[in-house]
Symmetry: C2
Subunit: 114 residues, 2 copies
DNA sequence: CTTTAATATTCCTTGACACGTATATACGTA
DNA sequence: TACGTATATACGTGTCAAGGAATATTAAAG
């Protein structure tokens, strides 16, 4: 389990991360909100913790987990190389649709979305 | 292989995507630049194609593969929910560093949070 | 000090998938 | 036609990670 991409490939782990974005949560709270068995939650949290996605503080018997930004920023950094590419694509599509708008009604151009 | 996250979990597939961001490439070109066996390249391209990450056009015996933006934008959309969070973190860090920077060398530092 | 609550860990099984090797298909050309 | 090139697919294999069930650990409460 080396890369951050493998970590977020697991749907339950993504769900946990999404849950933690609002505020820190205990294991039991995560368990209840996501309807997952407790050992499953603990095991995924362990993976997330060791990969640096979350950290925990002890509160009596509870562990409160919260998000850490760095690994997700790493994903963001990898995605950055594609943003230039797809914004160029959107521009090309818009130019294309603009050209389609003018000509005769025999073309298949459909309605524009609001 | 349902989610886009599982697709990009594989390092060779990420390498292929990064290669294609500059321009379209044939299977053989990918094979040579990434030093991967040809069947491996073809198999990964199949996965990427079926997931909508790439598309191919036929040029004689060659297939020219190029990037499609939508699936990567989907990843970007998922990441969006965390940007608010980590920019808040960066802001907090910057405020902290600002407080550390401004005072004259004779002043003492604030206590770190726990 | 026994019990209950919260979380972590262990063991086992199962399935997915990445790889290598070999072969198949398709196209162009002598 | 036969042949070389480019790409795709089939098959067998090993690895690894996720899930379930049971148990261990730790802390608080009684």
């Amino acid at each position: 389990m080396e890369s951050v991409f493998e970590i977020i490939a697991e749907p339950n782990r993504r769900a946990i991360l999404s849950l933690l974005v609002s505020s820190e949560q205990s294991v039991g709270e995560i368990e209840r909100q996501l309807h997952m068995p407790q050992p499953t939650v603990s095991k995924h949290l362990r993976v997330l913790r060791e990969a640096g996605f979350v950290e925990a503080t002890v509160d009596a018997q509870r562990r409160l987990y919260r998000l850490k930004p760095e690994p997700l920023q790493e994903v963001d950094a990898w995605l950055a190389q594609f943003r230039r590419f797809w914004s160029a694509h959107v521009d090309a599509l818009e130019r294309y649709l603009d050209r389609m708008d003018q000509p005769s009604p025999t073309k298949k151009r459909k309605k524009k979305k609001e």
